[in-house]
Amino acid sequence: MHSTMFGSISFTLFPIMIFGIAFMGAFLLPLVRSSMPAGNLALIVHASFLLLGFMVGAFGLLGNEVMNRRFGQASLLAYSARSLPLSEAHIFFVFVVKDIVYYFFLWVFPFCFGYILASPFIGVPLAGSLLLLLSLTLAFLYGLCTVFFLSAIYARSRALLYLALLLLSIAWGSAVAFLSINPAYFFPPMLLFSAFSWTNLLLSIVILSALFVLAVFLFSPEQTGSIKELRNTFAPLARRLTFLPDPSLAAKDLIDLYRSGSAIGQTLFSFLIPLAVIWFFLSLLGPFLPPHGLLFLFATITGVIASTMYTWVTMFDSFGPYACLPVPVSRIISGKLMTFTLLQAVPVLFVASVGILSGETLYAIPAVVLCLAVSYYAAGIMVWLTGLSPNVLVYDVKVMAIYLVLLGVALTIFSSLAFANPLYSFASVILFVPAWLFIQKGKVRWDAVEPSGF
């Protein structure tokens, strides 16, 4: 599907780019090791692949509806149960396996292969590189299966999910508060990487399999029999949003987000849970970061993740409803950015809470500013590069490469400034200027492109 959307060459080049980044990045390892132990670096990489698993899993959850909106009557494998003699659980199982294989060859294998090929030149034994391939694959699968597991609970009972998350948080918090142990140390793939043993491997696989089997067992397909009648929310909401330049578009998007379940689902699975996990991984790096560095590194990462909220507001739309209305693409982009702005309340509250809870209340405001500046800057790049199709075009190698370079440069500059002095984070407001320029350029660019759906 991805190759059909933006050409087989661009698609084929994507894993090659990942390979190239890993291969060249590996040569920087000797430099990084001088300031940070290899174990901590491995921790970051494992956390990144765990996060990737989370993100892929969260998209997979919503893929059904997303594809239906994008392609109208075209249907996914997920719909086959209605026309073929296959059970929903079987299709769900195939769906998960397909996702695993697909993303393994798109992301995990190219990354590890790059590292494996570079390992003889940087003095890393081949066995260590192969172990990394195994443990990163497991880290990715943990992210994926955890989201599928939690979403299977979520589909059955939201209350049950909240209870499960609450219990998990209490257990995690207790371990940190009373035993002074960071549970991230016990992340099975990380344990395996730091001390390979067959027992650790078995433990990793057993826990993973349990998550997977439970997810398939708990999976309950969407019930299509009930048709609900809902009261008219659009008109009152649009009236309440008259302070915005285009209240009708914002009202439609907010209703879409709420009724599709993605406002809660995405906030949980694509934002709060991944970031909570990342926080625990990053907190292990505390000793190797400058004072207050952890909060600002976390604010930067939250900013990047918060920018993906732009994909939340574009993923459910097809061009159909707009094609017959006098609405140019630039106006829809503005509408989506309005909704995006309203959603930024989530990262603002999140970073502020983390700042306060970690005892750095004084720096909560500069951290929030840094987070918002990064988020808008990254969203601006997305608008310019992908218009209304960020979910799709992100796998175009050219788009991804430009995005990474533009974002990487800004992140390096502003996280370094924040590390040097937390108050320098305020300098990141300058990022709103290129963000605005990217958005303006994006509007002109995508108005000129024939809209074929997004």
């Binding site: 048709i227 009648e229 809902l230 659009f234 009202a251 599709s260 159909g320 017959c324 209305l325 609405v327």
Partner: protein
């Protein structure tokens, strides 16, 4: 009579495929114009170009004196459009979708107008149901209502009757005829030839992207010919050519 829609040498190519191949045609104000053609003949592409949804690769077109290439949004502001695939937003209810369209088009007395359509097309009981839960026929009713909500001087409809039951087909056909009688213009694309012969005042036949014929229906029936036979002979001849 004034021409409300004019296409000159209009073309659309997708790589090597010529979806619409140098088509020149005009539609008179107050007419009910039928664009006929087999599947894949370029009818939908033609409607999309004339409503500024896609850009032609060659030629020009004006709709209500607006250039479809230079001012596609202006064209969509004035006309009503019913696309081939009915795609109202999934998570709005029927009434909310009409309210959304009304807000975008700045239509006064929207609730009153929406209520009239719910009654006229007999789907009041579905007004609070999410669009994704509506049947295809009801979605088509909703799309029909949104296209005429602002009472456009020109409505372009791609396959107007395809999802309607025979009773609703009659209601809609009658509405189109009456709407045109009031001086408005309706441009429909269809491959249901009997419908075209029944309600259209003028027609054009498109085949493999090329315009095969255009003229009044009365001219044809005056010669004792019927549209379906004429269409078949022309298209079959086109296939042999």
């Amino acid at each position: 009579m004034t021409m409300i829609l004019q296409a000159h040498d209009l073309s659309k190519e997708y790589g090597d495929v010529k979806a619409v191949d140098h088509v020149t045609l005009g539609v008179r104000e107050g007419s009910l114009f039928g664009l006929l053609g087999p599947n894949g003949s370029g009818k939908t592409t033609m409607i999309k170009m004339l409503t500024g949804q896609i850009r032609p690769t060659g030629g020009s077109a004006t709709v209500l004196d607006l250039d479809v290439i230079r001012d596609p949004v202006g064209v969509r502001e004035k006309v009503g459009i019913i696309p081939e695939q009915e795609t109202p937003p999934s998570f709005l209810t029927a009434i909310e979708y009409l309210a959304f369209v009304g807000a975008i088009r700045k239509i006064p007395d929207l609730e009153e107008k929406a209520d009239w359509w719910f009654d006229f097309l007999e789907f009041r009981d579905k007004k609070n149901v999410l669009c994704k839960d509506l049947s295809r026929g009801t979605r088509q009713k909703l799309m029909f209502a949104q296209a005429f909500l602002h009472e456009p001087a020109l409505a372009l409809i791609d396959e107007p009757l395809i999802n309607f039951d025979p009773i609703m087909q009659d209601v809609v056909k009658e509405y189109c005829v009456e709407y045109a009688k009031k001086g408005n213009t309706i441009f429909i694309s269809t491959h249901i030839l009997e419908v075209a012969e029944d309600i259209c005042s003028e027609f054009a036949i498109l085949h493999k992207g090329k315009l095969m014929h255009t003229g009044p229906v009365a001219e044809l029936t005056g010669r004792g010919e019927h549209l379906p036979q004429f269409f078949l002979s022309l298209v079959l001849k086109g296939n042999h050519v």
